[in-house]
């Protein structure tokens, strides 16, 4: 157990930056490329100050060329560097899909194991910023359908630091999804430079016994709020956080469902075709199937593009109350 004295309070944004900084200090092969990551410090401020410390050779401001950003990272990774690259918004990965999916993810396999592609692709995702449909998507499900990629997503500052470091050290292309509404979230973060969160893990974020909730990103925070509210009514929700979305570790989820008999799976991404379906399918394929005491509830974004108007935008994705009602329904309280 970590002592609080070994931790400092910081934002999710700062924690990502700290992880990157530590890794760049200890490994000269780590470089960072993307749009406006230098003087500007990145659209969301994640790379602020890195140019000053690491210089223009390692912090590379690119033209507006998403395909080239990802493809250049792939090429650099195959030849010995360990690039981190950033899509300013996850939505723009539409322009880097070929480099990511047809090159980065497949190269090792195509070449029979001859190469490796140690790179990190940072992807600020999600709605809530009023930037409308082309700047608000959560597209992780696409990436979780591409063998050769790994997909991780932190939901707290500590997780952000631990996962970004693990992603940088990993020898595969790792998609690192950041939720924009979490950048200002504050939490305790281990100062240990070897604090790493192993890729491939699902963790119990909050223990409980009555209902299992699986969630990540801001949706996880909403689940936690719901759990806190429900606790006052004596309902103990167990919350699981799949820090690695692909390849996902199912056992902790299965174990939890066996214990609770009830499951809610939630994400902000559009419900149809989202990762929720995959998780539900794996649960019913597992030994947990026989322990289910109620139909599984899947929460997800409405099947629409994200609208601009603030109220509409909020109503498009799952909120705290959706969890509360979901739990009530599972426990037959409504």
């Amino acid at each position: 157990m970590m002592k609080t004295s070994d931790m400092i309070k910081m934002t999710y944004r700062d924690a990502i930056r700290l992880g990157i900084t530590e890794e760049m200090r200890q490994d000269k092969d780590v470089i960072f490329l993307g749009e406006d990551i230098g003087t500007y410090g990145g659209a969301f401020g994640v790379s602020k100050g890195l140019l000053e410390e690491f210089g223009e050779e390692r912090i590379l401001d690119t033209p507006i060329s998403e395909g080239a950003i990802v493809g250049t990272a792939v090429g650099a990774a195959t030849t010995g560097l360990r690039p981190i690259c950033e899509m300013m918004f996850m939505d723009f990965i539409t322009l880097g899909m070929d480099a990511l999916v047809n090159q980065g993810a497949k190269m090792r396999y195509l070449f029979g194991g001859q190469s490796q592609v140690p790179m990190v692709l940072r992807l600020p995702a999600g709605s809530g910023t009023g930037a409308a449909a082309q700047h608000s998507q959560s597209l992780e499900a696409w990436l979780c359908h591409v063998p050769g990629l790994k997909v991780v997503t932190p939901s707290s500052p500590a997780q952000a630091k631990g996962l970004i470091k693990a992603a940088i050290r990993d020898n595969n292309p790792v998609c690192f999804i950041e939720h924009k509404m979490l950048y200002d979230a504050v939490g305790l973060v281990p100062i240990d430079e070897d604090y790493i969160l192993e890729i491939g893990k699902t963790i119990v974020e909050r223990p409980g016994k009555d209902v299992t909730i699986v969630a990540y990103g801001t949706t996880l925070l909403k689940a936690i709020e719901a759990a806190e509210f429900l606790e006052e009514e004596g309902i103990k929700v167990e919350i699981l956080n799949p820090l690695t979305l692909y390849p996902i570790e199912m056992q902790p989820i299965i174990d939890s469902v066996i214990k609770t008999g009830c499951l809610i799976v939630a994400h902000e991404a559009v419900k149809t075709g989202g990762l929720g379906g995959e998780i539900v399918a794996r649960v019913v394929e597992s030994e947990a199937f026989d322990y289910l005491t109620a139909p599984i509830i899947r929460l997800g974004g409405l099947d629409v593009p994200i609208p601009f108007n603030q109220e509409l935008e909020a109503a498009t994705v799952p909120q705290r109350n959706d969890f509360v009602h979901g739990v009530y329904r599972l426990l037959n309280r409504i």
Partner: protein, 320 residues
């Protein structure tokens, strides 16, 4: 040299002022926290945004960038509906679903702003293909920024437009930066219009703050495209005064640079022209400015009084 009627000059000056006021007002609303999300202001780019639109003929089309208010006003969009859209109201052009970046008036040939840098290039090719196929004699005006010319889409679109001789004018507002990236850091040539050589199409670089030069060049280019000779690439050098978007601290540029450009302010320059050529009296000039200002005050009032969209509208407009 193209003859400018008094009526046209009036329209030019009015629109440029309207655009300036629109954005200043919007900026004010943003800093008061009354706007959800961000906005991209083009203060300083009024000549390059308005003038090409005024050179269009009835029925021509336009595709706009993410920095589109000035372009939209130039094209003739209703500032009430624009402001309402920026505030996310149901009376806005997009019923509050698009916001500042996605103002559009498709029925009247405005194919909308685009949140994807470079996203408009191939849409414009498509729109131009329709014009060519139906022999409408209409042209598509495609706005984009300097940064957008580094996208793959720029290349694929200009190549396609060239080989198919599509009636489209690619109008690049080179405001010296792609967000924080100075143009000399992301493009290795002096004039972006030289990229036209890769496609064997005409390329022109002009002073984007000179309303008359922009108008004349755009007119000529549109005429060329309309005649079926294919696309034209225009680069208009200009400058944005505000930050890239609301969160921009502008650490990447020197205040003095801004001051230099402000001396070449497109509104100032046009005002000087009007005075020097004695087209209008000082009083008339001020009256135009005042009318433009009032139109924006009214737009804000209209927008603020307008209703929010109903929650049920979320599910509408996904499919035709």
């Amino acid at each position: 040299m193209i003859e400018l009627s008094e009526e046209l000059l009036l329209r030019m000056y009015y629109k440029m002022n309207q655009a300036r006021y629109f954005e200043e007002k919007l900026d004010e609303l943003v800093s008061k926290g009354k706007v959800h999300g961000t906005v991209h202001l083009a203060i300083g780019q009024e000549a390059s945004g308005v003038m090409p639109c005024l050179a269009l003929e009835e029925g021509d089309l336009v595709s706009m960038s993410h920095r589109s208010h000035v372009q939209a006003i130039g094209f003739g969009l209703d500032v009430n509906l624009m402001m309402a859209e920026c505030l996310g109201k149901y009376t806005g052009y997009c019923k509050g679903k698009g916001g500042s970046m996605h103002i559009a008036d498709v029925e009247n040939g405005n194919l909308g702003g685009n949140g994807i840098v470079g996203g408009g290039f191939n849409l414009s090719c498509g729109a131009a293909l329709t014009q060519k196929y139906h022999n409408t004699g209409k042209v598509v005006l495609c706005f984009a920024g300097d940064g957008a010319t580094n996208t793959g889409s720029f290349h694929e679109s200009l190549n396609l437009a060239s080989i198919w001789k599509l009636p489209v004018v690619f109008f690049i507002e080179n405001n010296q930066y792609g967000m924080s990236n100075p143009v000399e850091n992301h493009i290795n040539i002096e004039n972006i219009s030289d990229r036209s050589e890769a496609y064997n199409i005409p390329g022109l670089t002009i002073d984007g703050n000179d309303f008359l030069g922009v108008y004349n060049t755009a007119t000529k280019a549109l005429r060329y495209a309309r005649a079926g000779k294919g696309p034209v690439l225009i680069e208009a050098k200009t400058y944005r005064y505000s930050g890239h978007s609301k969160s921009d601290k502008q650490l990447y540029r020197d205040k003095r640079e801004l001051i230099e450009w402000q001396k070449k302010d497109p509104l100032l320059k046009m005002k000087e022209y009007l005075r020097e050529n004695r087209v209008f009296t000082e009083k008339q000039i001020l009256k135009m400015e005042e009318e433009a200002r009032v139109s924006i005050e009214q737009a804000v009032e209209f927008a603020q009084k307008s209703p929010q969209p109903e929650l049920t509208t979320i599910l509408e407009d996904v499919y035709a």
